[in-house]
Symmetry: C2
Subunit: 308 residues, 2 copies
């Protein structure tokens, strides 16, 4: 195999109740990448289409992610990257995580799959760290593994695949304004009330319980964030209105996707997600901002091969 074309999904992370530790892929939007073996042992980004990202291999997360991997696997070739960047950077739906996961997955495949899933996550995180101040896995792990994924710990890295209820769908709106992950992390307080922390602990616990018992009502009562949303929502035009519409129209929960500005809602069944899509799109047209929306099943699929 000398060439591979892969699709790597966007991801919703945090998911209201699991700041920095929970995420899932959005199956209907993702980056595409063609990676080709080259004789010369180097990394080259020969082409980028879609949204603009650096061609410099020391600045592009796709190549940053695979540098350490290549150092350790020592392949007898180089790699050329042709990137179709479909996810706008700074969108809060795992743009850099998607690119980092795509390149790690592609090169692993081209080299005969020497790496385990957890090793791939480790390398992809190296790319992520370039676009964020802290190392986190809640975008790359769901992008690589699919389904609802929680990061138990970063050091040592431990990832748990949670059960994904089969009727779970998401609606996502991505306002086309950039919120830098680093900035939206800076505005968070270093300390939180013990009482709020305790509430968040129980809320995440009941979320995990609801997945195992496939209890959608409990799931809905568990999609709450007491630590982060109040600080970040001011960066997002019409956030409260979007959330109001979602919750008044049957969403199980609604909050900020990643560090924003994207906002997601989860629903039982696709109909409610489609309905919320229509209503929120109507609202957002009045905001003056450009935007995209997505409706997707919470898919068990992560990154995948499109062709070889």
């Amino acid at each position: 195999m000398n060439q591979i074309k892969v699709f790597s999904p966007a991801t919703v992370s945090n998911v209201a109740c699991g700041f920095d530790i929970l995420g899932f892929p959005i199956d209907s939007i993702g980056d595409e990448m063609i990676v080709r073996k080259t004789k010369k042992k180097s990394l080259v980004i020969s082409n980028v289409t879609g949204y603009s990202v650096p061609l410099d291999i020391d600045k592009n997360v796709s190549t940053i992610a695979v540098k350490k991997m290549i150092e350790q696997l020592k392949p007898d070739c180089g790699f050329d990257f042709n990137i179709k960047k479909n996810i706008i950077p700074g969108s809060g739906i795992g743009s850099s995580g998607s690119s980092a996961s795509a390149s790690v997955y592609a090169i692993n495949k081209l080299l005969g799959s020497p790496l385990s899933e957890i090793e791939m996550v480790t390398y992809a995180m190296k790319g992520e760290v370039a676009s964020s101040i802290t190392e986190h896995a809640d975008n790359v792990a769901p992008a690589l593994m699919g389904g609802l994924v929680m990061v138990k710990s970063i050091s040592p890295l431990e990832i748990l695949k949670l059960p994904t209820p089969k009727d779970l769908y998401c609606f996502v709106i991505n306002p086309k304004i950039e919120v830098k992950t680093s900035y939206s992390r800076e505005i968070l307080p270093k300390e939180v009330k013990l009482k709020s922390a305790t509430k968040q602990v129980s809320t995440f616990g009941s979320f995990v319980h609801s997945l195992h018992t496939e209890d959608y009502e409990l799931l809905g009562r568990s999609l709450n964030d007491y630590l982060i949303e109040k600080h970040r929502k001011k960066l997002i035009p019409l956030f409260d209105q979007i959330k109001g519409i979602a919750l008044n129209n049957g969403a199980l929960g609604c909050s900020i996707s990643g560090s924003g500005p994207s906002v997601f809602a989860l629903t039982k069944g696709i109909e409610k997600a489609n309905e919320i899509n229509l209503l929120v799109s109507d609202l957002y047209k009045t905001s003056g901002y450009d935007f995209s929306t997505y409706v997707s099943k919470i898919s068990e699929n992560g990154v995948r091969t499109l062709s070889i």
Copy 2:
């Protein structure tokens, strides 16, 4: 039915990873209570044996707990309480929770069981609040319901019964020094690091996941507390040594029971719990403090009728 004799178990709350929200009963120690209907519509504590608790019905948690209940159920009789107080107050193993649960359960039975489990928990909490600054349900809920129980929220009260892995045992040591719940709450910080809160959220999430998947190793890696233990452990003689012995001898985890001074360890199988019991007892004899130890299955049984 004019009289009932009940047993109400001691409980381990917090359980390392679930401060204020998680608990389970210790089947081998609990308060006993004989409650008798009386013609005169009043509450009387006619006898207390074992550890000393107030005879005054406005100061004893057993009677405080049932006052509101009686106001609302309006029974055509009064009640006489004969309390065998086996759990030392201020021990950290739910002494007041046991008494409060016993009286609520007993009177509910004597009146033909008009209350649901969650209603019983609500009333029993009224007794608990008398011995603590904040209202909490992580002792009375497991005492009344049995098994591993989590408190999703206090207001509105929502309790979840978690699956209890069948080979789970606990060892508990109760040093005979009193630590007032109110004091051990005062020494806690009002705020905690966001990073520690996030760690606790993921740790509790993985704990719940481990119960559903019956993964004892993950359960062990989830019995950690990043918020509370470091502040309270200084109130407990030889805490670090007890924990060292437990973890070096196969315990899945070890931490403070409730607000201390009791310390618990969880094990897979009874043998390890017995072994830890011997070793910790040997250590504690050197401390100069009197103490008791208990080994118990994490039982699905909570409070129960001994005779009628």
